[in-house]
């Protein structure tokens, strides 16, 4: 174990090769987080508020000097049909995409996905007009 601690301290790429099993508190919402239960060895974000921390430049290198809170701004569907959360750093604006975990708050995920759909930035009239003009081509008969 002593050797392991030494490696963790001095090997810069330790977390690229080994999962981090430390438990910690969420910097944003104060939720106590353990590494178990994510469905993967690498826990990336808080399962309650889905926020993350900007500590890596490349996955696992712990080389970023920013340390800001990365808040979730959206979800997207990857090629394999799995959801991924897009995080944006509050301090420096860096974007990153991360797989969702098994114990993520489903309400929060759904709220994140619904946000652009329910907001009224699109002109409903124009959308309706466009859909009705497509109907002549997209006829099912």
């Amino acid at each position: 174990m002593n050797r392991e601690n030494k490696r963790r301290k001095y090997d810069k790429n330790y977390y690229k090769k080994n999962p981090c099993t430390d438990s910690f508190t969420c910097r944003n919402c104060g939720w106590p987080i353990v590494s178990a239960g994510a469905g993967s060895n690498h826990r990336n974000h808080c399962p309650n508020c889905l926020c993350s921390l900007h500590v890596d430049n490349e996955p696992g290198d712990r080389a970023s000097d920013c340390g800001g809170i990365m808040e979730p701004i959206g979800v997207w569907v990857r090629g394999d049909g799995e959801w991924a959360i897009i995080h944006r750093c509050r301090r420096c604006g860096k974007l990153s995409s991360n797989r969702i975990a098994a114990d993520d708050n489903p309400m929060k995920l759904m709220a994140l996905a619904m946000k652009p759909v329910v907001s009224d930035f699109l002109d409903r009239g124009r959308l309706k007009e466009m859909l009705s003009s497509m109907q002549s081509q997209g006829d099912l008969i």
């Binding site: 569907v77 990153s96 652009p116 699109l122």
Partner: protein
């Protein structure tokens, strides 16, 4: 006028992305090297003050960027990008009803299943 690399629509060079498929070309990456991949739109988010932005991801190198949505952008494409996650939920949608019940809300889907 330039031709879109992805869908072939002709559009004005002053626009950041093609108004039909909302794609653009990833010219140089962070290190200043040429990439040449196609930035495909993956998601939409509302920036503060209600300004909508597209989140684009390079198909070749995986880089992410955000771009403001223009007036002329096809609303049907934007809507299809925004609703893509809803068509592919990671858990059964019925579970949402249990959750809203737990939270004391009225999330029953009686209207959906009613004949």
């Amino acid at each position: 006028m330039i031709e879109c690399e992805n869908c072939g629509t002709m559009y004005d060079e002053s626009l950041d992305h093609c108004p039909e498929c909302l794609s653009s070309v990833h010219e140089t990456n962070d290190d200043g090297e040429e990439c040449g991949g196609i930035f495909e739109p993956v998601s939409v988010w509302i920036k503060d003050k209600g300004r909508p932005e597209l989140i684009c991801r390079c198909q070749f190198c995986g880089a992410l960027k955000t771009e403001p949505i223009e007036e002329d952008d096809n609303p049907v494409t934007i809507m299809s990008i925004a609703s893509r996650p809803l068509a592919n939920p990671p858990f059964p949608v019925e579970r949402l009803q249990e959750l809203t019940d737990l939270m004391g809300g009225q999330g029953d889907m009686s209207g959906y299943y009613r004949k």
